[in-house]
Structure formats: C-alpha cells, structure tokens
Subunit: 189 residues, 2 copies
C-alpha cells in the first residue's frame, strides 16, 4: 500500500475509535491494537494523536467551507442555494459520518492554530448560511419568520444527520436528499 | 428553607455542574463547594450523586411522557397535536434547559432500573410521535414524505433547543413558539 493510503487508513480507524470512546479516552496504543499493527509503526505515518484529530476535523471543515463558498459565489436562486447546502451536508454525511462525530464532539481538543482555524471556518459557514436566509426573508422569497429560528431549525437537523443516518441504511440517498429538501424547505404539512 | 426546597436547590446546582463538566467528572465534594456548604450536609437531603441524576432525568422524562400521553388521548387534529408537542418541548426547555443537558448527555449513566425506565419512556415517546406522523401521512393531512425523515427532522430540532435557546434570550417565548411551529410544520419558504 502507498504511504498515503496507509495514512488514510490510520485516520479512518482513529475516527471510529474517537466516535466510540471520545478523543481523550483513545491512546495511540489503542489505535495500533485496533489496526493490528505495532504502535511504533504508526509513527512512520503520523506524528501524534493531535495530528490525526486535526486531519479529520480540518479536512471536513474545509470540505464544508469550499462547498459553501461555491454556493455563495454562484448565481443560483436563494432556494437553489439552500437546496445545495442541504445536499452538501448529506453528501459529507454519506462519505464520512465517523469523522463528523469528531468534528461535533471533539473539536475543542484541537490545539491552538487548528482550533482558531476551525472556529473561524465554523463561524464563517454559519454566517454565510445566515446571510442567505436573511436575503431570502428580506426579498420575500422565504416566509417572514425569525431568522435565528430558521437558521437553528435547519442547521440543527443537518448537523445531527451523522448520528441518525447510519441507523437508517434502508433509506436511499436520493430519497433522503429529495425528502429532506422538501421537509426542511416546505415543512411537513 | 423547607427540606424539599433545599433538595431542589441541590438538584438545580448539580444540573448546572453536570452540564458544564459532565456527570462523571463531578463529585459530591464539587457540588458542596459550588453551593458553599459542607459535603456532609448534602447527605441530609440526598443519598448519592446517582439519586440526583435520576431525579433530574426521570422527572424530565416523566414530564415529556405525561405531556405526550395527554396529547395522544386528546381528540385534537393531527396538526394541533403536532403543535402541542412543539409547545411541550419549548415549555420544558424554557423551565429546565440545564436538566435537559443531563438528559441528553448523561442518561447512559443512570443505573439499572432507572436506565430501563428512562429508555422505555424515550422509546414510547418517539413511537407515539411516529404514530401521529404516520396517521397524518396516511390520512393525507401531512405531505407524503418518508416518515423517518419527518420524525428525525422535527425531533432533532426540538431535542437541541436546550443548547441553542439559552444563547437567544432576545427571542420572546411567544415568538419562539409561533415561529418554531410555522417553520417545523410549514417550512421556511
């Protein structure tokens, strides 16, 4: 296996252990044992547990950030932009639900520069989302409800998808996207 | 102060500490220190940290259960039942957001009988909610989307209210109820 493939395998295995026990409770020794390799050989690929956590969380946050920036820059309608954001969350959840557990539960264990970088990305993401909603409400494209309630209601569902979807494998990803877009935008009535 | 008032004060203080540090990390000594009293005097009112946790979580779960049972038994329309459920979550969040942190994060630390009782109540609550949604979809009162997606989308928002609302004190509770009902039932368009 190429070194990069091995490194990714370490990161993926770590994400599962972090999800199950939390970052703080997992040691590099635990990780080596779970992978059936020697702890020393982990260090040929990775410097520290912190490097693994940063790799998981920063990669995901950059994925969200890149997706959001493309949506913001686009000349799509407000409704289409919201649909694209919902699809972005579903796509990332489908490919890396384990990593999202670290992002949601263990981001505060990132160390200095990565923590600042992550918090900035999270803040900008939410602010971009809020701005799209605000524009929609001001233009009358979205119904005139409290903007913070709209932002919270939508993001709280999208941010907990990673907990729910792994237990729902019978729902086809295309149905998930279609129905989630309908439910979040048009409600359930 | 009456003994019951003192006991409630201990429970409320504990809920704040559990929210901030998690149940496992808090000792009875920490709790006494936070309250400015002697650890020994806590035991005049309460037997153990476990008794406090059970009191917080079981009281809340019974509050949800009682509310849901009244709604289920009522002859309200499906839409009215869903509105009542949203109001129930908001009312409980407004009165005990700290306790809801324990219910959401520390329920697994309940001991045997209380754990079983809690899990049964949580299961029944979700099943009652699912049944109301299923009836609504089957009767054509609710739009024909995947039932699990409707249940998840709605409950994920209601269950994370306790995290969000304490940071949003500028939103009037009546606006919160009105707009949350609109957003969850009719969507944001």
């Amino acid at each position: 296996m190429k070194p990069e493939g091995r490194k990714q395998e370490i990161i993926d295995s770590a994400a599962i252990l972090f999800k199950e026990r939390g970052y703080s409770a997992v040691t590099m020794r635990d990780l080596a044992r779970a992978m059936g390799i020697k702890a020393a050989s982990l260090y040929n690929h990775i410097q520290s547990k912190q490097e693994i956590l940063a790799s998981i969380i920063i990669d995901l946050a950059e994925h969200f950030t890149t997706g959001m920036n493309e949506i913001v820059k686009s000349d799509l309608t407000i409704i289409k932009k919201l649909e694209k954001i919902i699809e972005l969350h579903i796509d990332i959840t489908l490919t890396n639900a384990d990593g999202l557990a670290s992002l949601n539960n263990d981001w505060m264990h990132l160390e200095e520069e990565n923590l600042t970088y992550f918090e900035q990305m999270r803040h900008d993401y939410e602010e971009n989302f809020r701005q799209i909603v605000r524009t929609g409400v001001n233009n009358g494209v979205l119904a005139n409800n409290n903007i913070e309630i709209i932002v919270f209601s939508t993001l709280s569902t999208l941010r907990t998808l990673y907990l729910w979807y792994p237990k729902q494998r019978t729902i086809d990803p295309d149905i998930l996207k279609k129905d989630m877009i309908t439910v979040l935008l048009k409600g359930i009535i």
